[in-house]
Structure formats: structure tokens, C-alpha cells
Amino acid sequence: MRVPEVLLDVRDLRICYETSRGCVKAVDGVSLEVYAGETFCLVGETGCGKSTLALAIPRLLPPNARILSGSILFKGVDLLRVSDSKLQELRGKEIAMIFQNPMTSLNPVHRVGFQVAEVPVTHFKMSWREALATAVRQLGRVGIADPDLRSRDYPHTFSGGMKQRSMIAMMTTCKPSLLIADEPTTALDVTIQAQILKLLHELKNEYGLTLLLITHNFGIVAEVCDRVGVMYAGKIVEVADVTEVFEAPLHPYTKGLIDCVVARRKSKSRLNQIPGTPPSLLNPPTGCRFHPRCAYVTHECVKEEPRLIEVRKNHLVACHNYEKVGGVSWSS
């Protein structure tokens, strides 16, 4: 088997948000590798730092965020140290990003086709006429009916699903290598969700792009992902192939998340839940951050923070007691 090429290599990334109450460590020592051509899912609860991590890659963090340490290597270039003008060139052309809320992601004062066309004009110095034709073609490709006509409409005449399709069209016209999708389907209703995921998957295969999908939905993970990274309280706790994660999760948190999925519960039994709430990132717990909520907690967990280690081939986990976790059901 050939060694997969690492497209994105995040190393020991630490990001905090400066607030009036102190420094919120949203991403705390995250390292992960995304291989070229794969779909990598980043899963975790709301507020675990997955969106912060996603925004940090094209350096789109809000102004109160501070990157404390680490590096983000994209094709060998450190995105955190590259100049602004070089980064501007990469954004949209090499790295593109789709956002959670399609309703506000398009500029309300410009026509949709114009907005899509602007990307190749910026990056390929394409003529407007040519770019508009490209935009119409791309809008058709992402499933906008009657693209020639609709490209001349303003965003407010589009539905949520159509806006997200337009965003995808806008972000993929330049055929980037890496497409980051930050919860692209959260704001859409279920039937549209499936269509959008299918579209992303098709485009991925068609353009050979690498997809970094941020989600909190395990259904999506099972559907489209090759590998999964699970985040908890600003840290990656487990990274594995998608089948491994579902069949033999090694971190108690991953196991808990999977047990929460409604479709997996046995009939009539109560829905499983992980007790407690995620910790405050302002003042996270000592040792393993999951220990206050963990069923496998030992003295070691309270004192010492587990490192992310490769315990099986391509399966990394950060837990002192991973051996006990494998096999035993959460609820028992």
C-alpha cells in the first residue's frame, strides 16, 4: 500500500480567545494530519474548538483570537507564517471554506452569478464575460435549476439549500485542493442535508479535492468520512478510520457520543446520554479533561493528562484506560 500524501499537517496548535474574564483556550495542543484525497471529519460537541480549528487554517479567526503556538503546514507551507498577500492568493484557489449559515454567507447587494464569477476573476485574471459563463456552468453543476436565469438573481430570492449550493459553487470554481466545510448542513432541513452531502462527495471525487468536514452529527460521519478526529474541550481525543470509530471506539467520550445516536438505541430503551456538561475552557479540569464525566475514571486520570498515542495501526487515542474501554458498553 502506498504511503498517503499529507496535505494538511497541524502541529501542536494552541489558540485562545481573549475575553474580559480571561483567556479561553479553544484549541489546546491539537495535532492532526489530513491526507490528500480523503474526507476527514472533525467531530465534537458545540464549543469544543472544532470551528476555531477550521477557521485557523485559512487564518480567518476573529480579531480577539490569539494563536499561541503551533504550525499549520499546507503542502509544506506554514499557513501561520506565510505573508498576507500569499495567503490571499491561497484562499479560494487552494483552500476554500464553506460556512455553517448559508443565509448570511452571500453578499445581499450583488447578484449570485456575479459573486461566483468574482472568484476566477480574482485568482485567474479571467475576463468578466468568461467568468460569468463559468459561474453559470458551476451553478448548474451544483444543482441550481435554470442557472442562466438564476445567476442574475439576488441572494434573497434563493432558499437556504440554494444559497448553500451557491456557496459551494463559489468555493469550488477554482478547484481548490482543500475544502473546509464547517457544519455545512446544520442550518438546513434533513432532505436538503443529504443532497448537499451527496453533492460535496461528488465534487470531491470529480475534482480530487480533500474534504475537511466539521460536524457534530455522527450520521454524517458514517455517511461520507474516511477518517474521523474526535475533539473534546479543545483537544483531539481520538483519531481513527471511520469503521474503527464505530466498531471499536477506544476513548470513553467517542463511545459515549456513538451511544447517543438515536438510530443505534435498542427499541424502547431510554436514549443514552453522557452525564454532565462540557467543561469551561476558561478553567479546564486537571489531568484528562474528560475525567469528571468519565465512567472509567481512575486516580491517574485526575492527575496526569493522557497523550495522544497510536495504540493500533492508524488509530490514535488519548486515554489512560483505553484497553478497558474497548468492548465494554457505555450504559452497563
Binding site: 477557521l55 485559512p58 480567518l60 480579531p63 490571499q88 492568493e89 491561497l90 484562499r91 479560494g92 484557489k93 476554500a96 471554506m97 460556512f99 455553517q100 449559515n101 448570511t104 454567507s105 452571500l106 453578499n107 445581499p108 447587494v109 450583488h110 468574482e118 472568484v119 480574482t122 485568482h123 460569468l132 442574475r152 439576488y154 456557496m167 463559489m170 468555493m171
Partner: protein, 289 residues
């Protein structure tokens, strides 16, 4: 093909137009303004005399069929002077607003876009300017520059661009938080392009309203400076200067100052009515700050 007629007559502009036509005071303002524009544009045809035509035999005549607004101390026809004066008043008002917006809007965009110390500096300058009584500062500037209509325009613009910076900065701040700005950055748009292609078009509604509302104050300031003798020099038929000349005969020949004063008031009023209407019409739709 891109901007075909059918698309331009979109639902949105029809909606604004429909709301505006329902706004009675706004329509009144528009009619009044159209009248002022009409007399300014057709001054050469509707003025019975030249504005500087002196007639010593008919000095300070009251309004009559021959001189409907009467004549001034040099026997010039006041109606003709007012008609030509409308050109100056409207032109000056427009010019001041353009210069003000030209200074204020980019500064507001820069302050709102970059934030931080740039914002603090620009806001400090804006607030300082805001603290000055405008007419006093304008007087000081015009004293340095010397009298003349151009200098009055410069002085008035310098003292009153601050509202533009404030409004545009506030609106920019609210737009910067919207996701489409992040999306624009994500596709590699430059700062300049984001400022002028993404933020500026979204701030246009409040700018239009502000412009219509500052034209009357611009006209009032310039006529005030002219009244004080700093503006247009004789024989230019500036309304402010006419007021000034007329004040010496206020009891003997009140028409010399009443008619210029009336036209100043009506012009300012027409812009105010129009501006208020535009604000009402554009406000609920575009959530003007």
C-alpha cells in the same frame, strides 16, 4: 444582457418606490425640490432680467407686475436674482455633500474595517471635530483661506464630514460581523475589494439618507457665511449675500430680504422632507443603524 430592463425593475425597487409615493411629506418635498431644480436649470429663460442688470431709475420698488419680487437698492430685479441664485444654492449644496462624503465615507470604512488603533485615531479626530461649533470653525477656516464661494465650500465641508464617518463606521462594524465578509476573505478577496465591493454597497442606504439630510445644513451654512460677507462676492446673486444686502433696508423695503430668506427656507425644507421620507422608506427594509 446582464442588466436587462426586466431585472432592473425588480420587486425591491418597486417596493421602495411604492412606499415613497405613499409618503405625503416626502412627495411634497420632492415636488418642491423639483421646482427649485426647474428654476435653476431654466434660469436663462424664465428670468426677465439679467441678475446684474442695474437700473438706477427703479431702486427699491415694491413687488409689482413688472418686478414680481420687487427691486433692490441698485434697481436689480429680485426675482431674476433669486432664480439665478437657485443655481448657486443647489450647486453648492451638492458640492459640499460630495466633498463631505468623499472625506467621511472612506475614513468610516477604514475605521470600521481595520478597527483597533486605526479606529481609535479616526474616531478621536471625528469626535474632536464634532465638539466644535461648526459655524465658528468654518468662519475661522474661511478667514484663513479668504472670502469666495470655493473657500466657503471647502470650509463647510471640512467642518461637517464627521457624521458620514460615524454612520459609515457604525454600519461597517455591523457588516463586518456578517458571515459573507468571512466568506469573501475565504475566497481570497483583498481588503480594498472587501471594503469597496462588499461593505460600501451595504452602507449606501444610510449614506443616501444622510446626504439628503446634510444638503440643507450645507446650504444654510454657506448662505450664513455669505450673509456674513465671506462667501460669494457681489454681484453674484447668492441668496445669503442678498439677505445681507437687504438687511439695511429691512424696514423700508422688506421684500429685499424676505424673498431670498423664503427661498433658502423652502430649499432646505424640501431636502429635509425628502431625506426624512427616504429614511422612513429605506429604514425598516435595510435596517439602517
Amino acid at each position: 444582457m446582464w442588466f436587462n430592463k426586466e431585472r432592473i425593475r425588480s420587486l425591491e425597487s418597486n417596493e421602495v418606490l411604492r412606499l415613497f409615493l405613499k409618503h405625503k411629506r416626502g412627495v411634497a418635498g420632492l415636488i418642491l425640490l423639483s421646482f427649485m431644480l426647474f428654476i435653476a436649470l431654466t434660469a436663462d429663460f424664465i428670468a426677465p432680467k439679467r441678475f446684474d442688470e442695474v437700473d438706477p431709475s427703479s431702486r427699491l420698488l415694491p413687488p409689482s407686475t413688472e418686478h414680481i419680487f420687487g427691486t433692490d437698492q441698485l434697481g436689480r430685479d429680485i426675482f431674476s436674482r433669486i432664480v439665478y441664485g437657485a443655481r448657486i444654492a443647489l450647486w453648492v449644496g451638492l458640492l459640499v455633500v460630495v466633498v463631505e462624503a468623499g472625506i467621511g465615507v472612506p475614513l468610516g470604512l477604514i475605521a470600521g474595517y481595520y478597527g483597533g488603533s486605526v479606529d481609535k485615531l479616526i474616531s478621536a479626530i471625528t469626535d474632536m471635530l464634532w465638539a466644535f461649533p461648526p459655524i465658528i470653525l468654518a468662519l475661522a477656516i474661511v478667514t484663513i483661506l479668504g472670502p469666495g464661494l470655493t473657500n466657503v465650500v471647502i470650509a463647510v465641508s471640512i467642518v461637517s464630514w464627521a457624521p458620514y464617518t460615524r454612520v459609515v463606521r457604525a454600519k461597517t462594524l455591523s457588516i463586518m460581523g456578517r458571515e459573507f465578509i468571512t466568506a469573501a476573505r475565504a475566497v481570497g478577496e483583498s481588503s480594498l475589494s472587501i471594503m469597496f465591493r462588499y461593505v460600501l454597497p451595504n452602507t449606501l442606504a444610510p449614506i443616501i439618507v444622510l446626504a439628503t439630510l446634510t444638503i440643507p445644513s450645507a446650504i444654510l451654512y454657506t448662505t450664513a457665511l455669505s450673509f456674513l460677507g465671506f462667501g460669494a462676492q457681489p454681484p453674484t446673486p447668492d441668496w445669503g449675500a442678498m439677505l445681507n444686502e437687504g438687511k439695511d433696508y429691512i424696514f423700508k423695503a422688506p421684500w429685499c430680504s424676505i424673498f431670498p430668506g423664503l427661498f433658502i427656507t423652502l430649499t432646505a425644507l424640501s431636502f429635509n422632507l425628502l431625506g426624512d421620507a427616504l429614511r422612513d422608506v429605506l429604514d425598516p427594509k435595510l435596517r439602517l443603524g
